[in-house]
Amino acid sequence: MAGLLLSPTEKVFIVHGVQDDHRSDGRTNIDYRPMELETNVVSHATGSSRLRLANTDILVGVKTEIDVPTPEKPDLGKIEFYVDCSANAAPQFEGRGGEQLAIGIAKLMQAAYHSSDAFDLKQLCIFEGKQCWKIYVDILILECGGNLCDAVSMAVKAALFNTKLPSVKAALMDGGNIDLQLSDDPYDAKSLDIGTAPLLVTLCKIGDKCVVDPSAEEESCSVISVVVGVTGNPSSYSTEENVSDSAKESKFTTIEMVGSGSVAPKTLKDAMNQGMVAAKLLDKALGEALLRERQETQVKTKKHSYGFLR
C-alpha cells in the first residue's frame, strides 16, 4: 500500500504466474497466506481480537451500549461497524486520508451482517420496544498488505466470538422508563451467537483467472475484484450438536465488485463458486482456532496475552 511501485515486467511476471496456478510467493490460486490470531487483547473493550494476515494487521475492539430500539423493529438490537485506517499503515491515511477506504469497508461489513441469516439481532434485545444492546464494532487497520476485507471480516468474527454481554439482573419500571441492573460478575455473562456470522472473501481477477487472498502486489495487477460475504457454519463454533440443517447451509449475504474493470458473467459465476468454497474452509479453520484458544484459556495453559510484544 505504502508507496508500492511495480514495473511492467514485474506485473507481467505476476499475471503469467497466476495463469499457471503458481503465484510469486509460491502459493496456488486458492491458497491463503499464514495468519496469526489472538482474542482478548484490549482490556477496555468488551471483546477484541487481533489478526495478522502476512503483512495485513487488524485490531478489532467491540464495545457495547444500551440503546432504544427503532420503532419499526422493536425486538431487534443494533450493530454498527466503524473502520479507522491508522496512519501507521500508510502516510496517505493521515488526517482524513483513509476515510474513503474506511467507509467502503464499513459499508461492506454492514451489508454482510444485515441479514438475519447472518447475524440474529434478536439476541441483542433486552426489553422489547424499550431497551436493546447496541454493539459497536471498531476496526483499526494498522498495516495494509493486501486483502483487507477478508482479514477484517475474520477479525470481526473473532472479536464477536470473544464478546460477552453481562446478564441483566433486574429491570425496574419507573413510569415509562426502565432502569436496568446489570450483573457485576464478569463470569455471569452470555456469549453472542455468532456461528452464522459471515466472512468476506475477495476474489481478485488477474488476467483471466481469480485468486483468493491477493497480496498488495497482486492487487495492483488487478482491475476488478469480487467480494462475497458467505454465512458461517455454527457447528464449527460450538461444541454442541443441536444445529439445524438450514443454519449449516452457507448462503451469500452480500456480493460486491470493487475496482474499475468488468467481468464476464461466466467468470463472475466461477468466482462466486470459488468464493463459497474458500469461505467454508476459512470459516471452519477460524472456528477451530477460536475454540482451541478458548479451551487453552480455560485450562490456563495460555497465561497472558501476547498482543504486539511477540
Partner: protein, 259 residues
C-alpha cells in the same frame, strides 16, 4: 507550612497508611514497561510500548522529501499525528482524531520530538511520526513520546539522546508532600495536578513540560525531581530494549550482546 493546611489538599487518599498507592506501587515506582521495536514491516521504523495498561503503537516514515509548503532550507520537518483508537478509553470515543485535544497533543509531541532529533542532518526533508493509542490508562502522552523514541531509533534516525517522558503528581502522607511518579488514570482523575516532563536524561535537559491544574510553587521542585528521576528510569528500560532488539536482529554472539 502548617500541616492542617496540607490536610485539606486533594489527593489525600492517594496513599494508604502504609505509603502504598492505589495499585500497590510505592510512590517512586513506575508501572511495568514492556516494549518492542520493529513490530511492523512497512514503516521505516515502528515500536510498541506498554506502560501498565497504557498501550501505544508508533510508526515512523522518512526521512523523505518534504512537501513544498512545509520544506525548510536548513532542517528537517517533523510531522506528528496522535490518534486514539475508538475503543481505547472506558467510554467509546466518537472519532479517533481531529478533535481539539488530539490536535493539541500532536503539536506538543512535534515540539518534544523536534528537540531530540539532529535536525540539521536532513535539510528539505520530512519525518512522519504516527502514534496510535490502543489503550489509555493515564500517561498516554508520556507513553507516546517513549514509543516515538523507540520507533525513531528503529528507523535509524540520529538523535541527540534518548527522549523520555514521565508524569508525576503529588500526594500527602502524614501532612508531608510525597510526589508520585508515572500517574495512572485513577490517580489522574482523583484530582490534584499532574506534571508531564519530556526530557533528554543523558544530557540532563528538559524538552517539554506541561502542568495540569495548579500546584504550589514550593512543591514544584520535588515533583519535578521525581518526574526527572522517572525519565532516567525509563531511559534505562528503553536502552535495554534497543540493545536487545539490535542483538536479536544482528544475531550477535551472546557475549557481544551483554555490553
Amino acid at each position: 507550612m502548617s500541616s492542617d493546611f496540607n490536610v485539606k489538599r486533594p489527593g489525600l487518599e492517594l496513599l494508604s497508611s502504609q505509603g502504598l498507592r492505589l495499585d500497590g506501587r510505592r510512590p517512586n515506582e513506575l508501572r511495568r514497561i514492556q516494549c518492542k521495536l520493529g513490530v511492523f514491516t512497512q514503516p521505516d521504523g515502528s515500536a510498541y510500548i506498554e506502560q501498565g495498561n497504557t498501550k501505544v503503537l508508533a510508526a515512523v516514515y522518512g526521512p523523505h522529501q518534504a512537501a513544498k509548503s512545509k520544506s525548510l532550507q536548513d532542517s528537517v520537518v517533523i510531522n506528528c499525528q496522535y490518534s486514539m483508537a475508538t475503543f481505547s478509553t472506558g467510554e467509546r470515543k466518537k472519532r479517533p482524531r481531529g478533535g481539539r485535544k488530539s490536535e493539541a497533543i500532536s503539536m506538543q509531541l512535534t515540539q518534544a520530538i523536534t528537540t531530540a532529533i539532529k535536525k540539521e542532518l536532513y535539510p528539505r526533508s520530512q519525518i512522519d511520526v504516527y502514534l496510535e493509542v490502543l489503550q489509555a490508562d493515564g500517561g498516554a502522552y508520556s507513553a507516546s513520546v517513549n514509543a516515538a523514541t523507540l520507533a525513531l531509533i528503529d528507523a535509524g534516525i540520529p538523535m541527540k539522546a534518548y527522549l523520555c517522558s514521565c508524569t508525576a503528581s503529588i500526594a500527602w502522607k502524614d501532612g508531608k508532600p510525597e510526589p508520585l511518579v508515572d500517574v495512572s488514570h485513577v490517580e489522574e482523575s482523583a484530582g490534584g495536578s499532574v506534571l508531564t516532563v519530556s526530557s533528554l536524561p543523558s544530557i540532563n535537559s528538559v524538552a517539554w513540560v506541561d502542568m495540569s491544574q495548579r500546584l504550589h510553587a514550593d512543591y514544584l521542585s520535588v515533583v519535578m525531581k521525581r518526574a526527572m528521576q522517572g525519565c532516567r528510569d525509563i531511559e534505562v528500560i528503553l536502552d535495554k530494549a534497543v540493545r536487545e532488539h539490535l542483538g536479536e536482529s544482528w544475531t550477535m554472539s551472546d557475549d557481544a550482546v551483554a555490553i
